[in-house]
Symmetry: C4
Subunit: 254 residues, 4 copies
């Protein structure tokens, strides 16, 4: 077994210059939530699994009692009408644990994408602000300057020096290593507090992305998840303020 193993679980699909949409676990799980929502609502078809020694040595247990070795998974979806593109969708349980593993995983993914003649990549992630956000903006960065103007039209925002630390992980590496191979791409980053998984930010990212790829999707499942998380966040806030109040009470009594 090499560091990365690709297992095709269906015949490799012949797609017409498809576009990649990647969303792996990361801050607020923004990218993963967005791509999983797309896979579900578009009813995309799984065609490959990616296993790696740089993932944790771990199996998950399915609800039926069977095990599943942690992996990443590739799906495809065929364009339904003019103006749309065939899509390749990538999500998974983990990113690589080590720096070197992350590079090798990105290279392996690019190998798959080149076999499929992928013409453009959209990588999705979160941008953690460490504070609550009413209306998350979607930042972007791209491999080529010619995409900048167009991407702004879709509602994505470019702020100089943001994110200050650049993009870390698969969403950045796929663009960086892809550029060296001549594959173009754009990264969308949804602003997120970064404390909890963030379906609201995932929705904001999808709103921009769907304009870019000419799709219409229903957001009701994602909005439901967002309400659940909002409820949890509220309860955590209340618990925290109770904890803060107590010592003051005690001091008052004492």
């Amino acid at each position: 077994m090499n560091l990365v193993t690709i297992k095709y679980t269906a015949k490799i699909p012949k797609l017409n210059h498809p576009i990649l949409i990647e969303g792996l676990p990361g801050i607020g799980n923004v990218g993963k939530l967005a791509v999983e929502h797309l896979i579900e609502t578009l009813k995309a078809t799984k065609f490959a699994e990616l296993y790696s020694k740089d993932f944790p040595p771990q199996v998950f247990i399915n609800p039926d009692g069977t095990i599943k070795l942690v992996n990443n998974e590739f799906f495809y979806w065929r364009a339904k009408k003019k103006g749309q593109h065939d899509l390749v969708l990538l999500t998974g349980d983990y990113q690589g644990l080590s720096s070197q593993g992350q590079y090798e995983l990105a290279e392996s993914i690019l190998n798959v994408l080149q076999k499929l003649n992928v013409s453009h990549m959209f990588t999705l992630g979160g941008y953690g602000l460490g504070r609550e956000i009413k209306d998350p903006k979607v930042l972007f960065a791209t491999t080529d300057q010619r995409f900048v103007k167009e991407t702004k039209k879709y509602g994505a925002v470019f702020k100089k020096n943001e994110p200050g630390g650049g993009i870390i992980g698969a969403s950045g590496l796929l663009l960086g290593l892809g550029k060296l191979r001549g594959i173009a791409g754009t990264c969308f980053m949804g602003e997120t507090p970064g404390y909890l998984v963030d379906p609201k930010s995932a929705k904001a990212v999808l709103k921009v992305l769907t304009k870019a790829v000419n799709l219409k999707v229903d957001y009701s499942r994602l909005e439901e998840k967002a309400r659940e998380i909002e409820y949890i966040a509220q309860q955590l806030n209340e618990m925290e303020s109770m904890v803060k109040e107590k010592p003051e009470d005690i001091r008052y009594i004492g």
Copy 2:
């Protein structure tokens, strides 16, 4: 020397579609205790040693003054009557130190198992609850749904979403990577507090396992160890409650 080296210390045995029973160090050392007990009581024969650069750079010192490089060891046992299976037993001093090493060790072990025509794997481990347990249950997970019903008959329990983090280490990887190769298997996890080595949990696991492989074993050595550990645990508890009481006394006096 490769990352993993297998050294056959006896002629490779010709076994009749044997079953693997694996128990390496882990939480409560449940798996290791169980397999070591089987090896002792069945008087199984060692036939191979596995060395790895992913183990610590360490030798142990035997009671006679000689050294032993840390390793894993393979044993076999031949079925004595109808309805039993030839067994391959695997235990050892360590699991791999790194994630990648754990994957490579599991692959190397699977290579040995395929040479021996192993037909099923039982991997044994602990499931740490972080609290005391009167009567440890034995959870399970398996590579194929067809084993679920049968495994419940042996007394193993399936609880949805438990263990929540899946199975980490050799017991999970052998199943996960084995499944990709078409080797079936089942993991038994004995509930354990996880603070000390846990012969009681190991006995619970063996009770389920021996039904699955149609064996009868004497548990007296394991029960003796369990009594020793219970005594140590009790003493630790007493020491802890003494430490806790003291400051209260002081407060009372003051």
Copy 3:
């Protein structure tokens, strides 16, 4: 992709036994600041980029919205008059993350240098003292004793047992591994507090280096940066002393 990939972005220049000047990130960023200043003021030409899996999995975002995979970069500059040498200049975003990666990066850089017939290396870095310094001295160490006397003439200082821990990272390894290949070199280390980037120490290093390679450079940009940093350092000092004063005030009142 190997651990290290060199991408030539221009025709490999034919240089006349050039001298390497290396300055990568490190304590006070002394070496990096110095080499970047040289590249700017000499208007050196970039000819190669070095990418490595041992750098962080990260892209930076340029001011125009495009991304840049983190790397190291090689530049060259041709001698303008007699007594000068052709120069190869090396700087970059990161040094290797791991020990082994640092060795491999240094070997890869030496391979490039041998192709270019580099005759001598000057590696630049900082020597952290952990206290403020009025007038930073420049220490040195070299591959061959015959350079010691000459190097002192340029204003560099040799203090026995300093730095006590030797030289860690690229500036040391290029000399150490270079010596094994028969490539000579000298390391200049500018004294620095080590808290902030230190353009003042970088200037001190350049003053020695330019004597060694017979160059004249304008320091106005570097001096401007030094004033900015001095201003920041002053403000940090004031903030710190305010924080220290407060508790005393409170105690006084209480």
Copy 4:
């Protein structure tokens, strides 16, 4: 460059079934001090340097201003009279940083030893007790039971279950991996507090070793170092007790 590179700095000596004596940095630097003392007093000849990517990326600075890449070094010494053996001596700046590196280094060293027809290995180290010791004993462990009786005659002690954790690092691995290749060896471990370098323990180890290899050496340099360390230890103790006394004084006054 491989993970390990051996550079012969002199013609490979033809030795008559020599004995290896290894002492690399470790607890109390006992092994390193002992072997360095032997090399000095026997005036042994250096014949090889070992470099490794698993050492830190570091050069030391010699007193004459030149640099030295960190390494391990091999020396030899020819027997002077009957009953003595030719010796190969191994010491150095570091052991490997990683577990895997330690295994690879031990394998590379064994390759050199097999070329030299080494017949027995004595590996030297410290056994940290974490408390002061008047008269350090020398423990041992060996590859073969036939050496146990003989080794006790030289004054080495065998205590069951000591050291409890076995032997970690080169001194253990050379024996463990050597045994798999059929090379016999014995490890001597000098008891040491383990806080500071410990020439007293090194002398105790040498007293046993020299009986085993039929050598007489002068210990004056080592005894001098031991007195220096004793003086430093005493001063540290005094400083510590002063620090401890202060708060009591304050409490008394208050």
